[in-house]
């Protein structure tokens, strides 16, 4: 499924503090393609992820995931879309305190009304795919920053999302782990054929991306 953002405008805040976060942004993201969103802080990268991920409703424009306009859905429908069609990997705070790596995935499955028994094998396979087969029983405080991000990636893939949204994946990990993680996200995108959008400041991530969108002046300028 292709993700098309058409003429998206978002304003945030109220009254005097009201600012434009995205202005008339139009962009297309294709399946199996890793797209990097680059640009200075405050340029609208995270806002774009929020709009694409049905976390934020734009003031104007369409967010078409396949034929579905996410911007036109009700709150309940958008929540359903998030748990069944979209996977997230946030910059930090991805994991629930106290749950093991395996339980993080089972918890996500329970949100999508899948029983732990039905998804346990797939959860273990996904954790093995991201190199954490030996860390199934480890809690977040027993995992490194890179491992926590890998758990989040495995969890995001559990529901076989059409859209994978990644926010600054390498910001909280060292260079070696950042490189590994970048390669993993790229490989995952190509293997799973999902639309992947990564907001990043990291040149290595940009280098690994199939496409880049430069966010300037709250709108998109495709460069590759």
């Amino acid at each position: 499924m292709t993700l098309r953002l058409h003429d998206i405008t978002v304003t945030l805040g109220r009254g005097d503090s009201r600012t434009t976060a995205l202005r008339a942004l139009t962009a297309t993201f294709r399946p199996g393609v890793l797209t990097a969103l680059v640009g200075p802080s405050g340029s609208g990268k995270s806002t774009l992820l929020a709009v694409a991920g049905a976390l934020l409703r734009p003031d104007e424009g369409q967010v078409l995931l396949g034929d579905t306009d996410l911007a036109a859905l009700t709150d309940r429908e958008r929540a359903r879309a998030r748990r069944t069609r979209i996977g997230y990997m946030f910059q930090s705070g991805n994991l629930i305190t106290g749950l093991t790596a395996e339980e993080q995935l089972l918890a996500a499955a329970s949100l999508a009304d899948r029983t732990p028994r039905a998804v346990r094998a797939r959860a273990r396979d996904l954790l093995a795919d991201v190199g954490l087969a030996h860390r199934l029983r480890h809690r977040p405080d027993q995992l490194s920053g890179g491992e926590r991000q890998r758990v989040a990636l495995a969890r995001a893939l559990l529901t076989e999302p059409e859209l994978l949204l990644v926010d600054e994946p390498t910001a909280a990990v060292d260079r070696t782990r950042a490189d590994d993680l970048t390669a993993l996200v790229a490989r995952t995108t190509h293997q799973h054929g999902c639309v992947t959008v990564v907001a990043t400041h990291d040149p290595v991530v940009v280098g690994a991306a199939d496409s880049t969108i430069d966010m300037r002046d709250h709108t998109a300028a495709p460069t590759a």
């Binding site: 976390l55 929540a79 106290g98 918890a107 949100l111 732990p116």
Partner: protein, 375 residues
Amino acid sequence: MFLALLELKAARGRFLLMGSVVVLVAALVGIVSGFTTGLGDDTVSALRALPATHIAFAAGSDSDQFARGLIDERTVDGWRREAGVTATPLGVALTRGTTDRHVEVDLAAFGVEPGAFTDPGADEGKPLAANAPQGIVVSRQLVGDGVRIGDTLAVDRLGIRLKVVGTTGRSSYGHVPAAYVTADAWRRIRFTTPGTDTRPDDLPRQYSAMALKLPAGFDGKTLAGADRRHHTATVPLRDAFAAAPGYKGERLTMTSIQTFLFLIAPLVVGAFFAVWTVQRTPELALLRAMGASRRRLLGHTLAQAAVVVLAGTAVGAALASAVGLFVGEQVPFSLPAATLATTMAAVALVGLAGSAFTLRRVTTVDPMIMLGAAR
């Protein structure tokens, strides 16, 4: 529910701590309830056991009427003439006695007419009999104190000697075990002046009150008219408990303690869940971002609260029951299953109500805080 249980397991230390607080609150409420019922029984169980619908006191006194008021036989006869009414005199007096085996006891002497509906009969031995006016039937607590059938009980300072002819169930009045004597014997106990030798016929033919069985159609207006005619103040049996010494004060004290506990319980539970919710706001935001609906998060939070509150209450109930078994009959403690169940249901309810204070915050968490744009 799966996620709620996972979180419970992951944060079991915190939930155990909270559960312990619920256990202690529930146990405390249960114990106070046991003492409330026990003290109430100790004060009025002899009255509660009367198969009367109403008690008629002499008009004019508003408190401690069993000790203050007197009803004469003419009044009793007047009430007996009311259509459908069954009336019998009732004497109540606190006194002391010593058996011929030197067992000293306090007792609440209830004067009843042998064979009347207020006569408790006897579980063992013989009941009171009109032709044996010196007989006394003692309650089980007095048996526990050492009084036996066949003993002679001398009422202290009065020289009145009564023969223990039978025993009956547990009953007491004003924290003193009850014993049942004939109305004539009661008048001697009540009206004899120590050191004098008053003949029974010279004693006033008066009693503390009158036990009534009113027919179904005896409405308030009819009752008021009868009270005016006979100069009495008639109240339902349950309202007559307030005439027992100390009953109102005890009830007020114990009920106040219970009320405060019921106010404290939701605040304690609510405070815990409020702190818990604030601490896990980022995780709630994560769950919202992952597609958890508000309804699911509500159910999730309520399920956790229910597990903690219900389990804590159940353990608290067991603890209160254990305390009841431990103290046995040494103190006035009574916690019947129905009372325990009702009390614990109330504790669970207010506990859950406390957790509900936090629900709004759970539903208003913004998933956007997961993204850099909002950090």
